[in-house]
Symmetry: C2
Subunit: 320 residues, 2 copies
């Protein structure tokens, strides 16, 4: 884990109580990363599923329940926190942003981890960051696993990943809230080992559609196709088909294990951008298929090679 | 590396001289795996590129050149060997199978590593395995890397992989040649750490199209599409786009680095099966895209989840 001693020095005692709403993989990992990074305040938690909250507590990502405190009430939990981290699926984030806005005070900051940003800003952006309103810092950690839940959470989940932030105001899409906890949260996120990047909600959704949502949809389609075509062959013990597939098959279908519950929200909330990215890939596949026997195939390999060189160079620069 | 002592005991002194034609990643790795597995005979090598042969020698995958022996002559090299391993691209394998058939003796066995089998059997199957003809054992190690060349070769390349074999006779597509070196080569391949599987050339090509050739084409199309859409953004030092992409982006495009030179042959020789597999995936992607906002999306995730469960179970059984 990257530890920036200068960042540590900057951290005031501003954020003393964090409330994590949604204690699955991301929420619990945030709690664990806070502790690993030396955060000494309280970490409250709430989840619609009491078992998920209990699992997060068992992992140490959320503090133990306090006797006599009604920790099952999300509003009590939110009102007690300086920073509320909304870490559930996108539509639950939208709902909580809407429900919390009228009850929180201007001294409180909300941030979220939603994979879609424009939809949220359009829905609830006007409820935050104005005079006498609480503040909201839209965020999106580009980290995850194909298996969710607190059981798979780890403090190192965000190491060497990118954590995106956008403005919440449609008229100033790249202007982050000036709430003092916002700078502190960015510093904490960098202590988790992540790089922070700021962009507009619309651009966020467009880029994420191509480099994050599209890989998921391709893996789902690929795995679903194989299941339809070959599932009758999986039963046998001497499973040649499964054994034949190597690293490429496993990589291409890994995200096929991802839960529908999470991706339904993303597919709905970012539908135009995801559909456009899928259409672009479909057209590229058709072009490749129609050119399997022509020299045009070489051009496509040359372009793909160039992309991988650029990616390797970017990785090398970042680790230099 | 898996070492089967019973297999070692079975290995006679039948194969004493192996000639490897094509000393790139696969050919050199075979030489290294032979040595690692205790093969004490000679390993001759030939490559159309003298530098590639020199690199294989430097790595120890091919024996040092013998002074006075014209090692640059592939026919001299082939005639001196008990077993000839054709490890170049598919069309070079076809060409060598055709050119070697009239000069080799019935005591000699040829095997190959081509990723396409039906095309080869159709082209040259009749030249082998008959009375007074040399023998051919069509083979295909399901192993590789996105970077070719002797420099990337390793003895462990085949560990835990599957090495497919087919018959060479269209009328008996699953009947392997009965040449005594064939059983010995299968035993050696298992000593490399690979599982051996026998199937027909047609079925081989169909399965490989879906689980090996299709992942390559998807990675190439994906990387080429990103290169076209976003390459103008790659130049900057502060490359948010590249940094944003995580494991999924890297996995989905990893094979985009693969060389056209190798895949041109596969695309040409297995075009019908590859095109059919691509079309099936395209249709699945279209179906998914058109259902991003409908409950049908859940069905596709359920199917994809089921495929990954079956794959995990198969892996667990194999490693049990």
């Amino acid at each position: 884990m990257q530890l920036h001693s200068n960042v540590v020095a900057e951290l005031g005692s501003g954020i003393r109580r964090v409330a994590i709403f949604g204690t699955g993989l991301i929420g619990t990992s945030i709690g664990l990363a806070l502790r690993e990074g030396g955060f000494t305040g309280s970490i409250l938690g709430w989840d619609p599923d009491p078992a998920a909250l209990a699992a997060a507590r068992a992992r140490g990502g959320v503090d133990p329940a306090v006797v006599g405190e009604p920790d099952e009430d999300p509003f009590v939990c939110a009102l007690a926190a300086d920073l509320i981290v909304l870490a559930g699926p996108v539509f639950s984030i939208a709902e909580w942003l809407e429900q919390l806005a009228p009850v929180l005070s201007p001294s409180q900051l909300v941030t979220d981890v939603g994979s879609v940003k424009r939809f949220l800003v359009e829905q609830v952006g006007s409820l935050y960051n104005g005079e006498a309103q609480p503040s909201w810092l839209p965020g999106h950690p580009m980290a995850g696993k194909e298996q969710g839940g607190a059981a798979h959470a780890e403090a190192s989940l965000f190491v060497d990943s990118t954590w995106l932030f956008t403005g919440a105001n449609q008229d100033a899409p790249e202007t982050l809230t000036q709430h003092p906890y916002a700078a502190e949260w960015l510093a904490l996120v960098e202590r988790f080992g992540a790089r922070t990047v700021t962009l507009s909600p619309a651009r966020h959704d467009l880029l994420c559609a191509s480099i994050s949502h599209l890989p998921q949809m391709v893996a789902t389609a690929f795995a679903a196709m194989l299941q339809q075509q070959f599932s009758h062959e999986f039963a046998g013990k001497d499973n040649a088909l499964m054994g034949m597939g190597g690293r490429a098959l496993r990589e291409m279908t890994r995200l096929g294990a991802s839960p529908y519950s999470m991706w339904r929200d993303i597919a709905l909330a970012n539908e135009p951008a995801v559909a456009a990215a899928m259409l672009a890939l479909e057209q590229e596949l058709i072009h490749l298929r129609e050119n399997l026997k022509t020299p045009e195939l070489r051009e496509m390999f040359v372009q793909a090679n160039a992309f991988r060189v650029a990616l390797s160079e970017a990785d090398a620069r970042r680790h230099a």
